[in-house]
């Protein structure tokens, strides 16, 4: 716990894995906040009652909610007489807001006077809104970098029979993750591969497509953090050719392990990468499965290139992350003043 010691407490409903990851990382990288995951959506349930009592005891200066969920309204109502300020941390980009049909929530939140601080993970959205609405700030995503050495890691192991490609996303995000183009691209590969999934095949329609396209896949379903970290180590190449994104922790978690990821231009974590990385890994037209397939083939045929790009990306994201952490600390210091 940092110098604020429970002065900034964040909450996020379990249904938002990316936002929870952002807020857990914020706690660890800045040491200025404490994050809790709300596992129950029951507004009258014991979990909410516990945390309301906890907040009344701890008396934090600011409570920030990740995204929006109906259970947060109970906090606002029950704690309205306490000297606690409230804020939201909105992680969706403008494109994501439209695609995921979140505009109704965002429009209400920015007008809600009980929520004094509006924090956005998308810089553009924060900058635009700050010209019209008070107390809007850009709070960047930060990363916890594992103590790994990609040189000694996966590439040092015995050569595998199959290239492992990941296509990870939450079931709530299928609309913007460009799944069909990625599946079409993978289905055209002549090489031995296994596509790693984290629940896509639980969806009947995508399961039909996976089977119709004869895609060899392994679906791990929802994974604990420990299992996810173990599985991600096995991956050779990630696929995240999204139509809209805010940060994309999946991409970041591949990169920090030296694993290259093919993405669209919409993935912000890739935006400050070098030209070489962008040329090799960013797809110009995400709606072209042929282009995605070409990029995959280039990488699966060249282990040296994968290793080189993975290492370069890791070094670049480390520098970028330092800036993000400094910026996040500045913003928290400002709003906690």
């Amino acid at each position: 716990m940092g110098s604020y010691d429970n002065k900034l407490i964040t909450f996020c409903a379990r249904g938002f894995p990316g936002t929870n990851r952002s807020l857990m990382n914020l706690e660890k990288t800045t040491g200025l906040s404490k994050h809790f995951i709300l596992t129950s959506s029951n507004q009258d349930g014991p979990e909410i009652k516990f945390f309301i009592n906890h907040l009344k005891t701890k008396k934090p200066k600011l409570v920030v909610f990740g995204g929006w969920n109906a259970v947060y309204e109970v906090f606002l109502h029950e704690l309205k007489d306490e000297k606690i300020q409230f804020g939201i941390y909105w992680t969706s980009s403008p494109g994501q807001v439209d695609i995921s049909e979140e505009i109704d929530i965002l429009s209400l939140l920015i007008k809600n006077s009980q929520i004094q601080h509006k924090l956005f993970a998308n810089r553009g959205l924060a900058l635009s809104l700050s010209g019209h609405i008070s107390n809007v700030d850009y709070l960047p995503d930060t990363l916890i970098l594992p103590q790994l050495n990609p040189e000694k890691g996966k590439y040092g192991r015995k050569r595998k029979e199959n290239i492992i490609i990941s296509l990870f996303c939450s079931p709530f995000e299928y609309k913007r993750k460009n799944i069909l183009n990625c599946l079409l691209a993978v289905s055209m590969l002549k090489d031995n591969y296994i596509l790693y999934l984290n629940s896509l095949s639980k969806n009947t329609y995508y399961k039909n497509i996976l089977e119709s396209l004869n895609i060899l896949y392994k679906d791990f379903g929802w994974m604990t953090d420990k299992k996810y970290k173990k599985i991600i180590e096995e991956i050779d190449l990630g696929l995240q050719v999204s139509f809209a994104e805010t940060f994309n922790h999946v991409v970041a978690e591949h990169i920090i392990r030296g694993i290259p990821v093919i993405t669209s231009r919409m993935v912000p974590v890739m935006q400050n990468m070098s030209k070489e990385i962008k040329d090799k890994l960013i797809v110009d037209d995400p709606d072209s499965h042929l282009e995605i397939k070409e990029k995959i083939e280039l990488l699966i045929h060249n282990e040296h290139l994968r290793r080189k790009l993975g290492t370069t990306m890791l070094n670049q994201i480390k520098k970028e992350n330092d800036k993000r952490i400094r910026s996040a600390i500045e913003v928290i210091n400002k709003i906690m003043r």
């Binding site: 857990m24 809790f36 596992t39 014991p46 979990e47 009652k49 516990f50 906890h54």
Partner: protein, 103 residues
């Protein structure tokens, strides 16, 4: 309680425990909810765990907790002993409870 029947070793059956100072805990709607400072989620304790927890709060020694558990849940003392030891060890490992110093 026949201590020799318990298969788990290295435990003082007269030992009492106290809740670590950093732990927030409350009973709400019949459930015991625990929050560790380093965790992001609450622990929920129900059933026999709740019974043992309340006994720990009453500062009863492990042997007494096992005896009371066996009586209340109509199970053998051996099974009760194992359950209590497992629960206590788990809470101790997670630093939720600590051994009370003997005066």
């Amino acid at each position: 309680m026949n201590q020799e029947r318990c298969t788990m070793q290295k435990i003082d059956f007269d030992q009492t425990y106290v809740v670590s100072g950093e732990i927030s805990h409350r009973e709400i709607e019949g459930q015991i909810l625990l929050l560790r400072p380093d965790d992001h989620c609450l622990y929920t304790v129900n059933g026999t765990g709740k019974f043992i927890w309340i006994e720990i709060l009453k500062r009863k020694p492990v042997s007494m907790i096992a005896k009371n558990l066996a009586k209340s849940f109509n199970i053998s003392e051996e099974k009760a002993c194992k359950d209590v030891l497992k629960f206590v060890r788990d809470l101790e490992k997670k630093k939720i409870i600590v051994k009370e110093r003997k005066k």
